[in-house]
Symmetry: C2
Subunit: 345 residues, 2 copies
């Protein structure tokens, strides 16, 4: 007798032990801090003299991902990137993840294998240990919870609340690409829905689609900062959107900010695609989200040193809180930044 | 502009910052290991010289809980118990949890407040710090992910794989109560569905319903073991069912087992209700699940010492693996234990 035969509710873990052993059978351990991996009640981790960093993230089908155009392997990869970016954003080193996946009856073991293939690939690339896993039934759709665990020295942790007025605002990579990639995928999906003889044409959009489906995290920038003896005063990973996450740094630090339109890095493909969609490219750059870039602030004394770290742009500076948060446009006018959007004024 | 207005996919975090601040505004810190709580990219934890234990758990509406008869406050409480039981099961002390909740549009902030009230209550009772939280939209239903973090000394961690033949098998509390409580709730729901003038009559079922809706964890048994200088050779928390979790200890330890029908603790109310439902009471006891009791094994030298620890029953012993896993019934016949069920032979 299983619970499920007798009620609507169950432990939700049919064949749990066998399935998770199958899915984690090839798990490789990269870090000596991983004492016990999958197969016990909890992961056991030795952080030595370092502090432990732990973050958890929930991805829900139809909200965070659409399986119509997201291969499961890419989804697994992206789920890992998303989780470990929260550890990097504290200037920590992610070393373990734990996964919990809920799947409805439309998914098979083959589907889970694909998902875990992507998880393993991201783990290999970023040297992360899959230290625990769990699977469960779900009524509808797929739910993925990923917990990331990492470590950082007491003196090297960077929080969201350490920025001061006049600190430089820096950002890695470029912004808005993942959002414009999503717009292209959505457009092609709608065309396909109307006439499924028309195959999606994604040529010319490779970069922005890759940023949407299989993002990477600029972990090397953290190594670069460390090598240059630069310790940011505050830091956050950009997942909700540059404007929203910058405002959050300001709120936590008790500052205002000024950023400059022409200094915000936007890739050519993003720019071109935004224009094709009749969108001001600065809108996805500021509010698109899912960029998985780093946004951080630096005391002015690092202004020269930061130039030696590749892939970092100085986009503005912190101000006193009374000056609030503004974007300075090309026309030398100021537009107030809003967490949920920016109105071109 | 928000993503949600423009596509089916979004960061899923409408008003994230404000909402989670509201929900965690009364969070109390009980443990000095909690260096940074909610409000940054990740929780920061100082385990000192201890090892860190981390476990994650996903609860899905319709699979793990039914909101028709589960008050949200109880659900929040139970979600915490479920998560921290994995830390206790390693002989650790849970100290932090991180939550991630996905809710569809049918839920309001008031609903989330109720959920977090239950989370806070369990945190207060077990002295757990809510060190991080996140909320997100969902297409349908509620999803709750809880990550539990704890600590244990290198020499005191108890794993699933340490049992040896002849070790005593011990269990806390009693079994099958939560499952029978669920059967009563399901029966009353069906009656109510047919005629919603009939109010549910739950008198006489208070204990088993409380075990289903608001379980507790026998944390004091671990203190008792420690005071008596007893270190189990293996341990697991019983969430999937006594038989299933015992078989798991056996598989991981490379043993078989014998447990005795008349030694398995079953509460009178569970027994009586099972008979009312024409179920052999041993079936929910062995396979019901959601007991949140501890199952552990002890080397024989502790046979006397364990008698001083309240709320622990010796229910059998480990054997060599060739003898497999059997229940010895009252009639002195043997019935093989199966992870997914037990057939009365």
């Amino acid at each position: 007798m299983s619970n499920e035969e007798n009620s609507n509710q169950s432990s939700g873990k049919p064949g749990k032990f066998g399935l998770i052993e199958h899915l984690t059978r090839n798990a490789v351990i990269y870090n000596k801090s991983t004492i016990t991996g999958p197969g016990d009640d909890s992961a056991v981790i030795d952080s030595g003299n370092d502090l432990s960093l732990v973050s958890t993230d929930l991805l829900l089908e139809g909200i965070h991902f659409n399986l119509v155009y997201t291969p499961l392997k890419h989804l697994g990869y992206k789920a890992v990137i998303r989780a470990i970016s929260d550890i990097y954003a504290m200037n920590g080193t992610p070393e373990q993840i734990l996964t919990a996946v809920g799947i409805s009856s439309r998914f098979s073991v083959k589907h889970l294998d694909e998902l875990y293939e992507g998880i393993s690939l991201a783990c290999k690339r970023y040297r992360i240990d899959l230290a625990g896993g769990d699977t469960s039934s779900s009524l509808t759709g797929m739910s993925i919870s990923v917990t990331a665990i990492g470590r950082a020295g007491t003196d090297s942790i960077v929080r969201r609340n350490g920025a001061r007025p006049n600190d430089l605002i820096c950002a890695t990579g470029n912004f808005g690409a993942a959002y414009m990639g999503l717009q292209v995928l959505e457009r092609e999906r709608k065309i396909f829905d109307n006439d499924n003889k028309i195959q999606p044409d994604l040529s010319g959009y490779e970069y922005i689609i890759e940023r949407q489906l299989k993002p990477e995290f600029p972990a090397k920038v953290l190594t670069g900062l460390s090598s240059a003896n630069i310790l940011p005063s505050s830091m956050i990973d950009v997942s909700d959107g540059l404007a929203s996450d910058l405002i959050h740094l300001c709120r936590q630090s008790g500052t205002g900010c000024r950023i400059y339109y022409d200094r915000i890095p936007v890739d050519n493909e993003t720019w071109k695609t935004a224009e094709e969609f009749n969108i001001d490219p600065m809108i996805p750059a500021l509010n698109g989200g899912e960029d998985y870039e780093l946004l951080f602030t630096l005391p002015l004394r690092y202004a020269e040193a930061i130039k030696s770290v590749p892939d970092v742009a100085m986009i503005g500076h912190m101000t006193v809180p009374e000056q609030r948060c503004f974007l300075i446009t090309n026309q030398y006018s100021e537009v107030e930044l809003k967490a949920q959007g920016w109105e071109n004024g």
